[in-house]
C-alpha cells in the first residue's frame, strides 16, 4: 500500500474534529504556550482515552474479578477475598507451570540474545552479499506464529517429519517429538528460529558504534576479541539491556506451545504436552476449560506483578553494567528506529 493512499484514505476522519477546533478564530488569543499545551492534549488525547478504556479499565476489571468466584456465565459472582491468590500459591499445577515458565525464560532469553548478537557480528563483516544474508536470516522472524508452528509440527511429525528422517540416516529410531519429554525441544527450536529479531536490533546497535574506535584499538595492538569485549560489548550494553527486558516480558507470556499442540483452539485445550504447559497455557486452560474467570484473572494479575517485579529488578541490577555513551533515551531511540526496520 502506498503512502499516498494511506494518508488520503483515512485522513479526513482523523483530521476533522480536531481541525475544526484549532482553526476556529479565538476571541482573545491565548498565549502560544497555552495553545501548544492544548494542542498536545488534542494529539495525545485519543491514545490517552484508548489507554483508559482499553488497557487501564480491563486491568482494573481483571483485578476486581480476581477477588470473585466469577465463572462468566451466572451473574451471582461472589466476593471471595484473597482466596484466589491463596490458591495460586498452593495449587501444584500453577506452581509447576510457573517454574516451567521461569526455566523457559532463563534458557531462551540468554540463548537468543547470544545467538542474535553472534549473527549480527557475522553479517556486519565486510563480505559480499551482506544485504542478502541479513534479509534471509531475518526472514523466519517474519513468518506468522501459526505458520511457524504448523511448519515445526510437520518437521517433527513422527512418521513423515524431516527430524526423524534425519535420525533414520544415523540408524536412530524415530522419536515422538510432539509429546513429552521431547516436546520441550521442539518449543526451544521454534523459539530460536525467531532469532532474526534480535539479530536485526543488535545489528542496528553495532552500526551505531563509530568505526574509528575499533581502528584506534587495532593500532594500539588490541586483538579482535579484546576489541569486541572492551569496545563493542560496553557500547552495545543499552541495546542488550533493552533486549533482555523485552525478551523476558515476551518469554513469560509465551503462547507458542498452544500453537504447536494438535488442537490449539482455546475452547478445546488440554492437548499441550505437560513439559510445555507454560503459565499462559495454564491460565487459558483454567479460563476456558475450567470456566474459572476469577481464578484465571488472579493468575493474570500474578503474572503482571511478576513482570513488573522482574523489570524493576533488572533496572536495578543493570546500574553500572549498562554503559550509556549518550543519554539513555537517545541510545534507545536509534535502536528502535533502525531496529523497527
Amino acid at each position: 500500500m502506498s503512502t499516498e493512499q494511506l494518508t488520503s484514505a483515512a485522513g479526513p476522519a482523523v483530521q476533522s474534529p480536531a481541525g475544526a477546533a484549532a482553526t476556529r478564530p479565538p476571541r482573545r488569543r491565548p498565549s502560544l504556550r497555552t495553545r501548544r499545551a492544548g494542542a498536545f492534549y488534542v494529539f495525545a488525547g485519543p491514545w490517552m482515552l484508548g489507554f483508559l478504556a482499553l488497557t487501564a479499565f480491563p486491568l482494573g476489571y481483571a483485578l476486581w474479578l480476581s477477588f470473585t468466584n466469577s465463572d462468566g456465565l451466572s451473574d451471582n459472582a461472589r466476593f471471595v477475598g484473597l482466596d484466589n491468590y491463596k490458591e495460586v500459591f498452593t495449587d501444584a499445577e500453577t506452581l509447576h507451570s510457573l517454574a516451567r515458565t521461569g526455566l523457559f525464560t532463563a534458557l531462551t532469553v540468554p540463548l537468543t540474545i547470544v545467538a542474535g548478537l553472534f549473527l549480527a557480528v557475522l553479517v556486519n563483516q565486510p563480505i559480499r552479499a551482506r544485504g542478502l544474508f541479513r534479509t534471509l536470516l531475518y526472514l523466519p522472524a517474519v513468518v506468522p506464529p501459526v505458520g511457524a508452528a504448523l511448519t515445526f509440527r510437520m518437521i517433527f511429525d513422527r512418521d513423515s517429519g524431516a527430524a526423524n528422517g534425519l535420525l533414520d540416516l544415523f540408524q536412530v529410531n524415530g522419536l515422538t517429538w510432539l509429546t513429552d519429554p521431547y516436546a520441550r525441544w521442539v518449543l526451544l527450536f521454534l523459539t530460536m528460529w525467531g532469532v532474526g529479531n534480535v539479530m536485526i536490533i543488535s545489528l542496528a546497535g553495532l552500526q551505531d558504534i563509530p568505526r574509528e574506535l575499533h581502528e584506534a584499538a587495532r593500532v594500539d595492538g588490541a586483538s579482535p576479541w579484546q576489541s569486541f569485549t572492551r569496545i563493542t560489548l560496553p557500547l552495545l550494553s543499552p541495546v542488550i539491556f533493552f533486549q533482555v527486558v523485552t525478551g523476558i516480558i515476551a518469554a513469560l507470556q509465551t503462547l507458542a506451545p498452544l500453537l504447536i499442540s494438535l488442537d490449539p483452539t482455546p475452547r478445546g485445550l488440554g492437548s499441550v504436552p505437560e513439559s510445555n504447559n507454560l503459565f499462559m497455557i495454564h491460565v487459558l486452560d483454567e479460563y476456558f476449560v475450567g470456566g474459572r474467570y476469577g481464578y484465571a484473572s488472579a493468575l493474570l494479575w500474578v503474572l503482571f506483578l511478576i513482570i513488573v517485579a522482574v523489570t524493576f529488578l533488572i533496572f536495578k541490577l543493570s546500574k553500572g553494567t549498562v554503559f550509556y555513551s549518550v543519554e539513555p533515551e537517545r541510545a534507545k531511540t536509534k535502536t528502535r528506529t533502525i531496529g523497527g526496520a
Binding site: M1, L6, T7, A10, G11, T23, R33, R36, A37, G38, A39, F40, V42, F43, A44, P46, W47, L49, G50, F51, L54, T55, A62, L65, L122, V123, F133, L136, L137, Y138, L139, P140, V143, P144, P145, V146, G147, A148, T151, M154, I155, S160, A162, D168, G196, V245, Q253, L255, L259, T265, P266, Y287, S297, L300, L303, F304, T311, R336, T337, A341
Partner: protein
C-alpha cells in the same frame, strides 16, 4: 592450511542460513507431496511425483479466500488506523509541551512493557457486554488509539526533524494540525512504511485475539488454518496444511521484502540524518 577470516565467516553464515531456511524448505517440499509419499518409509527428501494440485485442493476444500478476506480486513483496518493514530500521538509527544506530559509519556513507555494477553480476557468480557463479539469493531477501536510501540517510533522520528521547519510554518500562520498533516506526516513515510508493515503482520499473524473474539465463520486464516485439513478418518492431511500455510505466509514475506527496499530508500532520501 590456515583459513582466512573471511572464509570462516562465509562458512558460518552459509551453515546457519541452511539451518534457518530448512524449515521453510521442508514446508515447500511437503506441499508438493502426494498422500502416499507423505507416509513413505524411508521418507522422501524430494517429492518423486510433485503434485502442485495440492494448492488447488488446499484453497478450495474450505473457503480459504473467505478467511483470507477476514484476515485482510482486520489487518488493513488495524494497520491503517494504528499507523495514523500513532503518528498523530507521536507528533504530540515529539513537538509539543504541556503540563503533565512527562508523566503521560512515562505511562506510555510502561504500557509498552505491559503484556497484551493480560488485558485480553477482561477485554473479551467487556466486549461481550457491549455486544462487540464477532464484529471487527475491536480492531477499529484498538487501531484508533494507536499502539505504544508505534507511537514511540513516530515520536523518535519527529523529534529529529529540524525546528526551523515548524517555526517557518507558524510564521506563515499554520496551526499545529496543519503542520502535522502537511509538513511532518508527508516527510515520515519511512516510519509510515515500517509502522504499516509491523501492524499489518501483527494482525495477520495474531492467533489469540481472533480466536477469542470471532466466531468460526468470521475468524481469520491464522485460526482456521490450525483446524487443518482432515481426511475421512480425521487424520491430518499434512501436504494440504503445508500448501495452505505456504500461501498464508507468503503475503507477509512479500510485504517484508518490499519494506526492505522502501525503508533503505526512505532513510537515504528523507534526509533523516
Amino acid at each position: 592450511m590456515v583459513l582466512s577470516r573471511r572464509s570462516v565467516v562465509y562458512m558460518l553464515l552459509v551453515s546457519v542460513l541452511v539451518l534457518m531456511l530448512s524449515p521453510l524448505a521442508w514446508l515447500a517440499i511437503t506441499a508438493f507431496k502426494d498422500s502416499t509419499e507423505l507416509s513413505a518409509v524411508p521418507i522422501h527428501w524430494w517429492p518423486h511425483n510433485p503434485s502442485p494440485g495440492n494448492f488447488g485442493k488446499a484453497l478450495t476444500s474450505w473457503d480459504y479466500f473467505g478467511f483470507a478476506r477476514n484476515s485482510l480486513t482486520i489487518a488493513v483496518i488495524y494497520s491503517v488506523l494504528a499507523t495514523l493514530a500513532s503518528a498523530w500521538a507521536g507528533y504530540g509527544f515529539a513537538r509539543l509541551e504541556a503540563p503533565g506530559k512527562r508523566v503521560i509519556f512515562g505511562v506510555l513507555l510502561s504500557t509498552m512493557m505491559l503484556p497484551q494477553v493480560i488485558t485480553l480476557i477482561p477485554t473479551y468480557l467487556l466486549f461481550a457486554k457491549v455486544n462487540l463479539i464477532n464484529t471487527y469493531m475491536p480492531w477499529v477501536l484498538w487501531g484508533m488509539c494507536g499502539a505504544p510501540y508505534l507511537i514511540f517510533l513516530f515520536r523518535q522520528f519527529f523529534s529529529n526533524m529540524p525546528k526551523e521547519l515548524e517555526e517557518a510554518a507558524i510564521v506563515d500562520g499554520c496551526g499545529q494540525i496543519r503542520i502535522f498533516w502537511r509538513i511532518f506526516l508527508p516527510q515520515s513515510w519511512p516510519v509510515i512504511a515500517t509502522s504499516v508493515i509491523l501492524s499489518f503482520s501483527w494482525t495477520w499473524g495474531d492467533f489469540i485475539a481472533p480466536a477469542l473474539l470471532l466466531d468460526t465463520n468470521r475468524t481469520t486464516l491464522a485460526v482456521q488454518l490450525t483446524y487443518g485439513y482432515m481426511n475421512a478418518h480425521g487424520g491430518q492431511l499434512n501436504n494440504l496444511v503445508a500448501a495452505g500455510a505456504l500461501v498464508y505466509v507468503v503475503p507477509v514475506l512479500v510485504l517484508f521484502l518490499i519494506l526492505q527496499r522502501g525503508f533503505v530508500a526512505g532513510i537515504s532520501t528523507s534526509g533523516l540524518k
